[in-house]
Symmetry: C2
Subunit: 153 residues, 2 copies
Amino acid sequence: MVFNIIHAKQIFTDFLRKGSYRVTSERSEVLEFAFKQVQHFSADELFLAMKNEGSNVSRATVYNTLELLVKCGILSKHNFLGKESRYEKNLGAIEHDHLICVNCGKIIEFDNAEILKIQENICEKYGFVAINHSFITYGFCKNPDECKTNGKD
Amino acid sequence: MVFNIIHAKQIFTDFLRKGSYRVTSERSEVLEFAFKQVQHFSADELFLAMKNEGSNVSRATVYNTLELLVKCGILSKHNFLGKESRYEKNLGAIEHDHLICVNCGKIIEFDNAEILKIQENICEKYGFVAINHSFITYGFCKNPDECKTNGKD
DNA sequence: TTCCTAAATTAGATTTAGTCTAAATATCAA
DNA sequence: TTGATATTTAGACTAAATCTAATTTAGGAA
């Protein structure tokens, strides 16, 4: 569980030192910008947002650093319906999960503590240490009126 | 639950007719080839396999038809670690889920009936009809010796 | 503190998955 | 059988992500 930017910086620095990666100003910058995002974001969106605010960190470094932030548990990475990868902060105890309508594309987020329990059991069974997860149920809206397009797309 | 190719063809044809899509020989061919795959496969892999066996169905049609097969529940679609989308047959009652090591890339498949129950409850709550799901836990192998690369990649 | 080497960063080229286009073809309701 | 329109097609295109090779930098060693 990551609680705030100070804590996240600590975790990230520890992770880098432990893995004999180097602590660089670019990596710190990416972490800071990632933490500023209120919602989930793609690597390119973050890169452009940073550029827009005067940062000179390159696209490649943004992509690389986001992967490191996933590996050390600060961010989660999701792939919705084969679109570009989206990242989000991994704050607090419960990571939220997603329902996605294959008809209208609507995304419903929900929290479920049971899923985390199952995850713990599975990891125990397979000798695995969980960092984060992605649980996506694909389906469609039961009520056709709520299904925005109701089309075939 | 889809049981075999005959059953899958039935489901697909019903789905197409209901949605006033057309039943075409290309769509049947894609279904047949998808069913022949023993493991999960990408859209492009299927396209090339079909081409290789003399099929003339185009790449665009393969991509489109796979999406239809997901929509009608015959296939599941997963995105592992931001790689290309992979499809697999949705056979039997339990869809398997995945543990992925962010260090060595190992993929462990497991079955868990509880996850399906949770999914049912969630869908009930949000007025949603599930077709299939993708549950991926990212983490790392507890035993370093089992972690193939144990490196930074 | 300075030096040195391997790691990291960079801009931009490249690759790759997937989508789009507009012309040709095929389905299926009437 | 016919005709409106859905589908298919090859290949162009787009966007995400990775790669490259030159340059810069971190941080351990002296």
